[in-house]
């Protein structure tokens, strides 16, 4: 039976791990290599690593870091940040990364999705959608460049296009719920789930294992991604890498008794 995936999501800034709240106030969390090594030893389902300033600074991905991180992973790794062309897709995949994520680039040059899929295969092309609710109209809005730039696309419609173009997965990231640890934006997840049949991973807001359980109970086979939850501990948000054991995960899936094979 295909299991739901529980996915730690790490943000890299200036070569170091950070954690944000609403995509702002980055707090230093430490060395990425050691963090990834610990997650590997915890046998996590898979890992997402996003370089949050590569695109903004218009620079190349940090290939040395990517190679070192990939070397520590005995589970699939998804890397995103600063990816603008097919050559970069190829190069990153050849470093031992299973999936490459694009965000702003997918909006600006959506044809990159199909071209990359032709080379590395659609299953390795991930589109990350950063979404927030417009404070005025209350409608969901797609944003670019760490949520700072407005974009005229409607999230659901963009999700459908991304599927048509041949992507393999959508990561829907809620800016409003990021770092707040009060639960996922389930309504946003539903919106995207209705719009596309691609595998979906939801990111932003998980504060406890129960939030992940709620997501899985509703969506069955889904990716439950989290940053703060797996990196912080306690009310003082002390940095301590944690992740449910295999026994805890199996128990959680049993309990949700998900809608199997959906």
């Amino acid at each position: 039976m295909l299991r739901p995936r529980i996915i730690p999501c790490l943000l890299v800034k200036n070569g170091g791990l950070v954690k944000t709240v609403n995509f702002d106030h980055p707090k230093y969390v430490g060395d990425p290599i050691n963090a990834v090594r610990i997650f590997n030893e915890k046998e996590v389902d898979e890992l997402i690593v996003l370089d949050i300033d590569a695109s903004v600074q218009n620079r190349e991905p940090d290939y040395a870091l990517i190679r070192n991180l990939a070397g520590e992973c005995r589970m699939p790794l998804c890397y995103g940040g600063g990816v603008r062309n097919v050559e970069q897709f190829e190069r990153i995949v050849s470093l031992g990364v299973e999936k490459v994520a694009v965000s702003s680039t997918a909006v600006r040059t959506p044809e990159l999705i199909s071209r990359a899929a032709e080379v590395v295969g659609g299953q390795s092309v991930v589109v990350v959608m950063d979404v927030r609710r417009d404070p005025g109209t209350k409608k969901y809005q797609l944003r670019m460049h760490n949520g700072k730039v407005h974009c005229d696309r409607e999230p659901a419609e963009f999700a459908a296009e991304v599927e048509r173009l041949g992507a393999g997965e959508i990561v829907v990231n809620s800016i409003d719920h990021d770092g707040v640890m009060k639960g996922y934006d389930l309504e946003l997840a539903r919106t995207i789930r209705r719009a596309s049949t691609l595998p979906m991973s939801v990111l932003g807001g998980a504060g406890k294992l129960q939030d992940i359980a709620d997501l899985i109970r509703e969506f069955g086979t889904v990716g439950a991604a989290a940053g703060s939850l797996f990196v912080f501990k306690g009310s003082l948000r002390a940095v301590l890498i944690n992740y449910p054991s295999r026994a805890q995960r199996d128990a959680l899936f049993e309990e949700c008794n998900g809608r199997q094979n959906r």
């Binding site: 170091g16 230093y28 430490g30 610990i38 301590l240």
Partner: protein, 379 residues
């Protein structure tokens, strides 16, 4: 070294790899004699110790009234600090803040153990994350300096951070897992020079560092042993010295109650310390810290000399995995395996090759001994 120059203590297992070791007429070393003469008579784990501990605990509680927590416990995830945390909360009724310093080398077991204890004991955790780029540069400087005490950056950061926090938050009591039971014999100075000597740290950094130390926490012996101690009244307590502390039983208790996982060897909470103590130090300098640890356990009757000698026959590191560890350390430090090897092959230096404030330590140690405030100590 000529065979005739080699000598090992008949009582413990310290030997002439400690260049300053001295033997009495019976062949017993000065580490043992210091223990029997200075430490043992003044080390009380019976009623006297319990009463002394009660007094201290009362002071801690009084001082902490009305505050969120009454003390901080330096927690590495190792057996000593783990057991201490259990003791402080469950047996002494204290309200500690568990204080962890992340220097970038935590092992998965350590992180897991800390989590289990926090959850099992219902305590709050505070983590100070050392800036990795600065830590890496400083660690690399120590490798380039060619000295044995390459783990100084981690050790120094642990203490400096705790002191800084205590001072900033007006916390009067720092609890540590330091104990005579497993550490009555200390690593010789030649092997591990004072980690708190900021003059040495800065000199090595000045000579070999490539980036300024801005965020890295620095303390100094005068600052924390004199200023913070006497002027700010921040006291460091080692509760494990006031009651019977037996490592095997402590591990069993924590395993049963909290699912705590044992480590293959002391200090394996940090991947770097493991590499350093089990491979770098013995391979490069011939200093095997297991001798020190086992000797302490022999003196406190938790290990027999025979057992210790048998264990010492095996290398301290696992030959099957050492190549991977070596590569990991090199990768983390941002250098090639060849470059790390070049530091291994370079001429050995010692703390004497760089500036230090060793004189202050000597004066201080004598003063403390005269005042009866410190037993034994490093030499």
């Amino acid at each position: 070294m000529a065979m005739t120059n080699y000598q090992i203590c008949v009582n413990c297992v310290m030997d002439t790899s400690d260049a300053k070791i001295r033997f009495d007429a019976r062949g017993v070393c000065d580490h043992c004699n210091t223990f029997y003469r200075d430490i043992l008579p003044n080390w009380h784990t019976d009623e006297r110790g319990a009463q002394e501990l009660d007094r201290i605990v009362e002071s801690i509680k009084a001082e902490g009234r009305g505050k969120d927590f009454d003390c901080i416990i330096g927690m590495s995830g190792g057996i000593d600090s783990s057991y201490l945390t259990y003791l402080a909360k469950e047996r002494l009724g204290l309200r500690p803040l568990v204080f962890h310093v992340d220097a970038g080398w935590n092992s998965q077991i350590a992180v897991n153990n800390i989590e289990k204890l926090i959850d099992g004991l219902g305590l709050e955790l505070y983590t100070e994350v050392i800036d990795w780029d600065e830590m890496r540069d400083l660690q690399l400087s120590f490798f380039k300096a060619g000295v044995p005490h390459v783990d100084t950056p981690q050790d120094h950061a642990f203490f400096a951070t705790m002191y800084n926090f205590a001072e900033a938050h007006n916390v009067k009591y720092i609890l540590t897992g330091a104990n005579y039971s497993t550490e009555c014999i200390r690593n010789p100075l030649e092997w591990m020079y004072y980690q708190s000597d900021s003059i040495q740290l800065r000199d090595i950094h000045r000579k070999f560092g490539t980036r300024p130390l801005v965020k890295f926490p620095i303390t100094s012996i005068l600052r924390h042993k004199v200023y913070l101690r006497f002027f700010k009244r921040i006291r460091v307590i080692s509760p494990l010295n006031y009651l019977p502390y037996r490592k095997a039983e402590a591990m069993q208790l924590l395993e049963q109650k909290y699912g705590w996982q044992p480590y293959p060897q002391k200090h394996f909470e940090s991947r770097f310390t493991r590499f350093y103590e089990s491979y770098w130090l013995p391979k490069r300098f011939g200093y095997d810290t297991r001798r020190v640890q086992y000797s302490s356990l022999i003196l406190t009757e938790q290990m027999t000399r025979k057992e210790a000698l048998e264990k010492l026959m095996q290398p301290a590191y696992d030959a099957a995995t050492i190549a991977q560890d070596f590569e990991y350390v090199a990768t983390k430090l941002g250098i090639s395996v060849a470059e790390l090897q070049s530091y291994m092959d370079a001429p050995n230096k010692s703390y004497r090759d760089y500036k230090s404030q060793q004189s202050i330590y000597l004066i201080g140690a004598n003063v403390m001994r005269l005042l009866g405030m410190q037993l034994g100590g490093k030499r």
